[in-house]
Symmetry: C2
Subunit: 237 residues, 2 copies
């Protein structure tokens, strides 16, 4: 799984007067080859970093671990990113963005509310099983980043949750149901985000099977429990 279209510091065009430090620039400028070389190397580093963060946790992993894994010197690593924080940020941002992009593409192909929820499920689970490590880093290190990098990742996360929330609302409207959207979304996310803790590819179903069975449980569940309940508790004073 290659990590493509990445962005970090040295962005070849010093257009601005300011230093291009820790800025994020999407660049398709002149030096296509050199630019791509940098990005490919960074992508490789990020892949190793994702594996190490996954295994030992962000705080438990050291830059020396990454140095050992990549075969690069400790100082050499810092040519590709500004700090350990940014390393986590790049992994989380890229993972989220990729999931959302793929989801948007797939959703464009269907307008049936139930089908669209099943597309969401399959997209999420397929990506999760194909990128277990990045996915665990995404969910497990959810609250790790404290600064503005953290707020940016959290904004993308809200965007993703919002999509799911809207899908549920469409379904609710189409079926004439009435249930607490927040609780339903969170229950659904619980089911799918928990998979990284137990899924074993040798004994458990593949993404397609998982998506179908979880979709069955959840959709039948909200269908039955939502019907005839004019207002299922929204809050409790």
């Amino acid at each position: 799984m290659a990590l493509d279209s990445l962005e970090t510091r040295p962005s070849p065009a010093p257009v601005d007067g300011r230093k291009p430090r820790n800025g994020a620039f999407a660049s398709k400028s002149s030096t296509e080859l050199s630019d791509s070389r940098f990005d490919r190397r960074l992508a490789g580093v990020l892949e190793h970093a994702a594996r190490i963060f996954c295994e030992k946790g962000y705080e438990g992993a050291s830059m020396r671990d990454l140095s050992r894994a990549t075969g690069m010197s400790l100082a050499g690593l810092y040519h590709y990113f500004a700090s350990k924080d940014e390393l986590l940020y790049l992994i989380q941002k890229h993972t989220f963005r990729t999931i959302i992009d793929r989801l948007r593409q797939r959703l464009a192909g269907s307008s049936d509310p139930e089908q669209r929820i099943r597309i969401f499920l399959e997209n999420h689970l397929e990506y999760s099983l194909d990128n277990k490590e990045a996915m665990k880093v995404l969910t497990h290190e959810d609250e790790t980043l404290k600064n503005e990098l953290g707020t940016e990742v959290r904004a993308i996360k809200r965007e993703y949750y919002r999509i799911c929330f809207d899908l549920l609302e469409d379904f609710e409207g189409a079926k004439g149901l009435q249930f607490s959207g927040r609780l339903a979304v969170m229950s659904l996310f619980g089911m799918i985000n928990w998979t990284y803790t137990w899924h074993n590819p040798r004994v458990d179903p593949s993404a397609e099977g998982l998506a179908r069975q979880m979709g069955d449980i959840f959709l039948h569940g909200v269908l039955k429990s939502g019907r005839g309940n004019p207002k299922v508790a929204r809050a409790k004073p």
Copy 2:
């Protein structure tokens, strides 16, 4: 929420020839008062530790943080436990044991398969919301302990999962269903273990409401999706 019946090092009776270091002894011997004093102090430390591990993660939290929070000196802390590892172990073990004990008590009062699943749900969610911090430490630091302390906690965890699995099987048998127990259990655990990431007592239902709604979704879900499916994929070759 007091942490009671704890065990650590100094166990007043040096029965064995060996040093009573990092051993775990349940003791109800002569010095009841002194013993209880030690336990009460340790319980206070564990409560602070749970809060700090919850906020900063196990690796991100330092013994100096705990020293500051408890008002005790760094060295003084080690009078109550042998290592940072053991601190996490004591928290996780006590939390799991308490949940299981309470569950067993409550389950004794009902024999209806559906009701028993709802009891499981309510017990888990009630404890979770009353002990958010310990609960987050339990689930978030799941794989943190690597040594024999970790294996012991993991054994208790399996015991807990086993109870839930059996409840599901009883329900399955009673209703004449046929679904993948493993996937159902894990989906259910996903729903309830995820709550610590989103539940806000000011806008979300209390444990009772959560348990009812999640129970509705899940039970209706497996009822509907399990019926008439003689064998829902158990594995995929």
